[in-house]
Subunit: 337 residues, 2 copies
């Protein structure tokens, strides 16, 4: 039987709140013994930690979850396996997911865990079939895409963006991505089938965007906010829809800057609809449907999974800092075990 | 029979484009003889000119209509009567409306005029039953109000805002207004039945807003944009709806400034829906329905018409400049004849 007290738990703490860009010095790693479980508690060994831009937003203040403060184990969505259980609803060997944090082992109560089934591989479960893949799926459901429409996607090489682009292609749309390097642009076009990609770091970004979308944009899937959101506002067709999924351009700093010009003036004159959403709001049935549909598309090779996996808990800070700098292609995960 | 060539037409031209605040010196008045009509043209004598914040936005650039440029007769929605017609579809004595401009007489083609019926008085036709009243009506239709919800309205003493507030009261909502003076605040509460009003010029504006809406805001009817829009974003409930009707805070200047912070971050985390709309997009049947409903409410004394009427074409520039400064209570019109 497992002797819990012999387990060493590496944990990454937020040491101080970043006032500007996130650095490794904002974290510290500590090692301790795993504590004893209370009644009904569950001990989870973490397998994969999901690295998401939202992790940085959690340090800025309250969002859809409480702020991560100095002295907290850094929060992070993760996949794990139950290795000990005082709870009748969870058995050793069960796969679970939830905000397990940046550590090897998490002691959790029943309501903090979602029991899950791996329908494919652990990594696919955390990429295309995971929160980011489902975010892309649900966001485009809200957009109600019609064949032949032009869809613009920012952070197109990111975990959400690349899947959103591939889904929009399946739906028969023209898909234009926005990214930060020629390398990622080439990858999106050659490997994932995007119709065109603009590099927002180019001086000609606005002109490039205009020339790739002469018919203007019907749906903009916004992952970034800020000046790119502004450029997209100007590129929209009347009656266009904007799916507000995230604002990564605003996360890696003290507090959000002033927003784009033309808000809400352009929303009025172009009769736009903007919709914010959070993937956690969808119910289990909807999640199930999303997962099955996405898995079907992967199996039919209509979606090519894009994963960017780093190894070792100690690399988690680096993984997030790099993601905020746009280093990743596809879903960034850290493999812990 | 009417001798057209003897008619003197006073016309107000835009002399130069305002780079900042609009002043009387940006206009000039000229008097000329009315020209002869071509085949199919119609001569209209203008009765009431509608003064709208959007008039100022037309000077900034292309909106839902072409920009008003120096040398143009200033544009303006107006009610008039046909006094001469070369067109078989329009008869002398017909009431018409459209963008007739700031002048006594307009020569128009058929497609530039809407034939209209005065169901009440000329001024009510241009206020509660007119574009601004219908804008309030259609905007709240898009908001899909539910009884008991909290509705926040900016530029609440304006032509659109005051009607929107009165309609939201009819629908059983709690209605909070935002305005720029204690006098208008008192008027909105005492005369029009608003539940509360905050003065955005007070230092305590954000605190006042919070204390008037402890349950937060379900629907924000935005007429102003800018920093007030920002404060409203923070005051919204999750899943709240924002009706984007105008951005008057951004009109009386060269070009829109940077927008509010937290866009689209707050749109995401609060799962907001923003909808821009233009009143002209609704069809004749919808307009008819709006007009009849509004007239019914006026007759039942559920809506108190609020009109702010100035006399004389020469006062039109002053009327618009004053409106942009928030001088008016209710619908501002200039009576020309």
């Amino acid at each position: 039987m497992l002797n819990i007290s012999t387990l060493k738990n590496q944990q990454i703490y937020l040491k101080s709140s970043p006032m500007d860009k996130l650095l490794e010095e904002h974290f510290e790693i500590k090692i301790s013994n795993v504590e004893n479980l209370n009644n009904d508690q569950i001990l989870v060994e973490i397998i994969y930690i999901s690295i998401d831009a939202a992790n940085r937003a959690w340090m800025q203040g309250r969002t859809y979850r409480s702020q991560v403060l100095p002295g907290d184990v850094m929060g992070g969505y993760a996949l794990g396996k139950v290795i000990f259980s005082n709870n009748k609803n969870f058995n050793v060997g069960d796969y679970v997911e939830g905000d397990l944090g940046w550590q090897n082992y998490a002691i959790k109560n029943e309501n903090e865990l979602i029991k899950t089934t791996i329908k494919s591989s652990e990594n696919l479960h955390m990429s295309v079939l995971g929160i980011t893949g489902r975010t892309a799926y649900f966001g485009l459901e809200l957009a109600n895409l019609k064949e032949g429409e032009t869809v613009l996607i920012s952070a197109a090489a990111g975990a959400v963006g690349n899947v959103a682009g591939q889904i929009a292609k399946i739906k028969g749309c023209k898909v234009i991505g926005i990214t930060s390097s020629e390398d990622k642009a080439k990858w999106l076009i050659d490997e994932l089938g995007f119709d065109g990609v603009v590099n927002y770091k180019n001086n000609n970004f606005v002109k490039d965007l205009r020339s790739l979308c002469p018919e203007k944009v019907d749906v903009y899937f916004d992952n970034v906010g800020g000046p790119i959101f502004e450029s997209a506002l100007f590129a929209m067709n009347n009656y266009g829809r904007i799916i507000c999924c995230g604002a990564v351009s605003q996360y890696d700093q003290a507090a959000p800057q002033n927003g784009p010009r033309g808000v809400p003036g352009l929303i009025v004159t172009k009769r736009l609809t903007l919709k914010g959403f959070i993937v956690m709001d969808f119910n289990q049935k909807e999640e199930e449907e999303a997962e099955n549909t996405l898995l079907g598309w992967v199996n039919e090779k209509k979606i090519k999974p894009a994963e960017d996996i780093m190894i070792g808990l100690e690399n988690t800070p680096k993984a997030l800092i790099g993601l905020l700098n746009g280093d990743n292609k596809g879903k960034r995960l850290v493999k812990i075990k």
